[in-house]
Symmetry: C2
Subunit: 386 residues, 2 copies
């Protein structure tokens, strides 16, 4: 890729198909399982409105602010991570404009055009975009229902010498899978042995509906960069995320952040700090989990009557997504047009693959619709697949 002009490289990076699709699926009569959006009716509008009024009414919050982030917010986020089993000091954290920015800053700091980045296949497509934009060569790690396969990672590390390994270890997008504790230990050890940075992208980790929590990958080793966000447990409109990184990497990340946008919105950071200080976030997350569990159960229970025999699907313990594979040589991108004629939408699976797309796969999101809407949407999907 080195030597390819940025304009040409950008032409090669397609606009996110999810976003392009969202435009098509926003007709009000469509029940969309396509987006990766949290349920808006579960946003704590009163809590956030109060927090923003307080934040914007405090004069210093209208001014420029330190690149590293609001000191109070960093302290509260560090406490929250520590309470979740990842001992964290405020100085370990850089507040970012959503965790998407944290991923881009890590990429800026560690990936050169032509470098190799190793990813699960399938994986989060905006991460694929980010690495492609940096001119990286993507190499897949095999994965199954328990996440990335350590022996495949070992092989990739040996053969390809990646600069970075990107994983969504918990309730992955799009697969819904979660890396087992044993594999986390093995993968952290492999990274340490090969002196390579792992990225643990963890937007969904707190959204568990069944089964026992698994410790964060970050807690198994020193070579892990953790990306966190308030988008799924608070609200995505704020664009508040964070990078937790070893001190040695922080100066480079801070310089990349300065060049990116000087600092994240002073007001959004202050509002997040007010909110975290005043609201019982754990209780709010329990409420989200109760609602999302019912939606997940509704969708999964409807699947046998919805999809043709021979279809396989994930049974996610948390997060937002069910991942499916239809039998035979089906192209779900074609199927989407038929689905839209039935006023239901999903995301075809191909764009989530870094290398060899499996066109019979697709992703359903269960978070944005109510159980009744999910039931009706699944009836429409059944009619599409009939």
């Amino acid at each position: 890729m080195t030597g390819m002009s940025p304009a040409r490289r950008l032409q090669g990076v397609k606009s996110s198909p999810v976003r392009d699709l969202l435009a098509l699926t926003q007709r009000p009569e469509v029940i969309s399982f396509a987006g990766g959006l949290p349920a808006p009716e579960l946003f704590d509008v009163d809590g956030w409105s109060d927090a923003f009024q307080k934040a914007a009414g405090h004069r210093p919050n209208l001014q420029y602010a330190p690149t590293e982030g609001d000191p109070v917010l960093r302290e509260l986020l560090a406490q929250r991570m520590t309470a979740r089993g990842i001992p964290t000091e405020p100085a370990d954290l850089l507040v970012t404009t959503g965790s998407q920015q944290a991923l881009t800053l890590v990429t800026t700091a560690l990936v050169e055009p032509g470098d190799v980045v190793a990813v699960e296949e399938p994986t989060y497509l905006a991460a694929l975009q980010c690495f492609q934009l940096a001119g990286a060569r993507l190499v897949p790690i095999a994965s199954d229902e328990h996440g990335a396969v350590p022996s495949s990672l070992a092989d990739v590390l040996e053969r390809e010498r990646p600069s970075l390994v990107y994983l969504v270890p918990t309730f992955a997008n799009p697969s819904g899978g979660t890396l087992t504790a044993a594999r986390r230990q093995e993968i952290a050890a492999l990274a340490a042995a090969h002196d390579v940075w792992l990225v643990e992208d963890d937007p969904y980790g707190e959204l568990r509906y069944q089964g026992e929590p698994v410790p964060a990958l970050t807690s198994y080793g020193e070579k892990v960069l953790y990306l966190g966000t308030l988008s799924k447990i608070g609200a995505p409109g704020l664009r508040i995320g964070w990078l937790r990184a070893p001190r040695e990497l922080m100066p480079a990340a801070v310089i990349a952040k300065q060049a990116a946008d000087l600092h994240t919105s002073t007001i959004d950071q202050a509002a997040a700090a007010v909110y975290l200080a005043n609201v019982d976030m754990n209780a709010h997350v329990r409420g989200l989990c109760a609602a999302y569990r019912e939606r997940r159960d509704t969708m999964v229970a409807a699947l046998p009557a919805t999809v043709p025999a021979g279809t396989t699907w994930s049974d996610p313990d948390g997060g937002m997504f069910v991942w499916l594979r239809l039998p035979g040589a089906v192209d779900t991108a074609r199927l989407l047009k038929k689905a839209l004629a039935h006023n239901v939408a999903f995301v075809p699976g191909a764009p989530f693959f870094a290398t060899n797309p499996d066109r019979a796969t697709f992703r359903l999101s269960f978070t944005t619709n109510t159980p009744d809407e999910i039931s009706e949407g699944m009836r429409r999907l059944a009619a599409t697949l009939a």
Copy 2:
């Protein structure tokens, strides 16, 4: 620079000296002319607090949003640019997380490691950082009190074939200078003839205290990318900026923006839209100009009694900065320590130079302090220089 690892390149890009200094100059007893901060006491706190309460109380503003930006905000910004003599449609604009992000997106889209970026010397140091981080080689364009010299630009275009030319044509940071209308025409024609992109970074354009307005560089040609911001006329804490670009470049900028942070804070954008719709921004800017004009006049009037004979300085028609050069072989970085002992601060000039620093230069900002504070600060500066 190609082939240098990102980590090494980041080590080469120093953290912004202004920001490092700001940390040192925040003792309350220091009168600081160092920062580039708008006056916080002139922020319209009530207006912004109202706007944020309304914005955060509207449920859709807590959700993900289009990458291009809030449609209402883009419409209002387009109207505002059109009223300032730059005919603009909403589709010409991409909302960014401050204009710093607009600069980074343009760099991502157009600059490859090893490419040449041409800049005025001295110029905005976070722009220099941004280009260095992208692995660009910086080539200076000569400038005088009327901004960049067209014959020098012509020479650079011919000899160095830059990918990008970066200018702050109006009330430049740090020089305070403004490019004349005749030079704007000439420079826009040169860019068209050489098919090279000009960046017009315009954070200060509306802050004019004397003299007649000069049309934006953007109005003289098609090869100009305009960077705008609410930071200096509204409030920087919002991080609301924008890129105005020809339609051919917009898809690449949007993809770079998606990878950077998906979109700018939905709430901050909505609050900015509420504010622009409800408040007479032109009246607010007139108020800012009246206050800043008095501060500028106070500082410039005090200069002859403050600095040694042989010192030269700019007499800016607007913006935030006076730029000075002391006689003899002085290093203003050393002088700063002495100034801090007198409880006054400025920014040494060297970091604003891309290539050969003139260490006898320094920058004074007149916006952050009241006239009385400026008078006292200038007395302390006189004692420093005595």
